[in-house]
Symmetry: C2
Amino acid sequence: MKKEFPNQHLGTGCHQNSGRQSEGCMHCSVRNLFLLSALSDGELHILNRERTSINLKAGDPLYHVGTAPQGLLCLSAGKIKLEKDNLNGGKQIISLYKPSEFIGFTDLLGQTLYTSSAIALENSTVCFIPKLHFNQVLQSNQMLALRVIEYLAAEISKIVERSSGLTQKHMRARLADAILYTYERYNHPNNNEIQVALKRSDLAALSNMTTANAIRTLSEFIKDKHIEVQGRKIKILDFTALRKISQLG
Amino acid sequence: MKKEFPNQHLGTGCHQNSGRQSEGCMHCSVRNLFLLSALSDGELHILNRERTSINLKAGDPLYHVGTAPQGLLCLSAGKIKLEKDNLNGGKQIISLYKPSEFIGFTDLLGQTLYTSSAIALENSTVCFIPKLHFNQVLQSNQMLALRVIEYLAAEISKIVERSSGLTQKHMRARLADAILYTYERYNHPNNNEIQVALKRSDLAALSNMTTANAIRTLSEFIKDKHIEVQGRKIKILDFTALRKISQLG
DNA sequence: CGTGACTTTGACTCAATTCAATGGTTGTGG
DNA sequence: CCACAACCATTGAATTGAGTCAAAGTCACG
C-alpha cells in the first residue's frame, strides 16, 4: 500500500499498485480492502470487464463539483484531495485519499451530483469502473451491501466529529488536527515526516482558516518545537504536544 | 403524520400514530416510509414480534451518548432532539425528529456506541425493536439494504452541507438557518408558526452560538420584522428575508 | 409571594479576518 | 544563464465578529 509507482510509469495505463500488470481487479491490492473482500472472483471479473485507467498530473482535477458520478473511482497510485468552495472565496478540503481508496464514493452511492471536486495532489492513477457494473455487483451481493452500510455509518460519525472540531476549536487546535490528520493519512513508516507536499493554503483549507493565519500558527508550532518545517515538508517533533493542543486549544 | 396523540393517551402503551391499536407494525404509519416500504408482511411480523413501547415525558432522555444501541427506535408520537456536549460546556443539537422517523439510526447501523444523546422535547412515545430482529430483516432483504445505503449517502451530503454552514456562516445566517430548519421540521400546515417550544439555549445549540448571542440576533430579526415571537412561540413573517440572510449573513 | 429557571441587555475582551506590503522560489523563454 | 513573471510565503496593523461576564428583568409554579 505504501509502495508507489515511480512517476515515469504513470503514462503506461498500468492500473494496479501491486506491481502486477494486465491482471486487473482480481489481483489488485484493493481486493484486500474490507469493503471488497466480500466479492467473489466472478464479481471481480464483472468489475474488471470494463475497467479503464485515468492518469492525472499534479493539480489535475479528476472531477468537478456538480457533475454526475459515472462510476466507481479507485485510487491506484498517487494522492488526491476532495475540496469545495467555501462561502468566502476560499477552498475547504473535505478529505485526503491514498491508494486503494474510493474517491467520491458517497456521492456515487447517493445517486446525486458530486458535492465536491477531486484534485490530484501529485501525479496519480485512478481506476474507473462504470456505474452499471458496480451497481450490478452491489445489487446481487448482500454481504457487500451490509459492509457498505457499516462503512457509511462509520463515515457519518467521523464527519460529525470533525465538524464539531471545526466549529468549536480555536485555530491552534484546528491546525494541530490538520497536521495530525495529514500525518495519519500520509505518514512514512520510518520517520515523522509527512509524505505530501501541501501548500500553506491547503493547510488552511484543511483547518478552516485563512492562509495568513495558518502560516502564523505554523510559525508558533515551529518556535515551540512541536514541528520542523522545510518548505512544504513538515516533520513532527512532538506528537504529545500536538495532541494536547488539539484538545485544549 | 402530523396528527399527534393527545397527551393523556401516552401512558397506554399504544405504539401507532395511525390511531389503530393492537395491530403493530403492519398498520403503523412508518410502513409508508420509503425505507420500510420494501418490507413484506412477513418481515413486518418479525419486527413486530418483540416490539415494545417507550413513553417519555418532556425532557426525558431516550438514551445517553456513549451507551450501546440495543435496537431500532422509531418515534411514534412527540418530538425528539439529538444533542451532544460541545467543548465549551454547552450543548450542540445535531438534529430534530418527528413521528415515523428513526432515532439514532446511523449509530445502530455503524455498530458503535451512541455518538449523541436523544432527549424528548415534549411527551413522546417510541417503538423499540430489538437489534436482532432488525438485523435479521436487513440481512435478508436486499432492497432494504440498498435503500439504507441511499439514505445514508444522502445523510452524509446533508451533514457536510450543514457543517460547512456552521463553520463558515456568521451568526445571523446560522440563526436564520436554524429557524428555517425548525420550521421545515415542525411546521403547521395552516400558519407560519413553528410548532415546537424551543428554549433560547436550544436555538443557540442549533446554530452554534452562545445563548446571549442567540437572543441578541433573535431581537434583530424581530426588530426587522422577519419573525414574530411570543415566549417560545416563533412565527415566520418573511421567509424570503430569512433565506437571503442565510445566504449572505 | 418567594424561589429557581429562563430571558434580556450592556460593556469588555479577545480571537480571527482583512488588507496590504514585502520577500522568496520556481519555471520559462529569450 | 539570466531576467522576468507568476505564484507562494511571511509579517504587520487595523477592524470586526463573537464569546464572556455580570446585572437585571420576567415568568411559572409550588
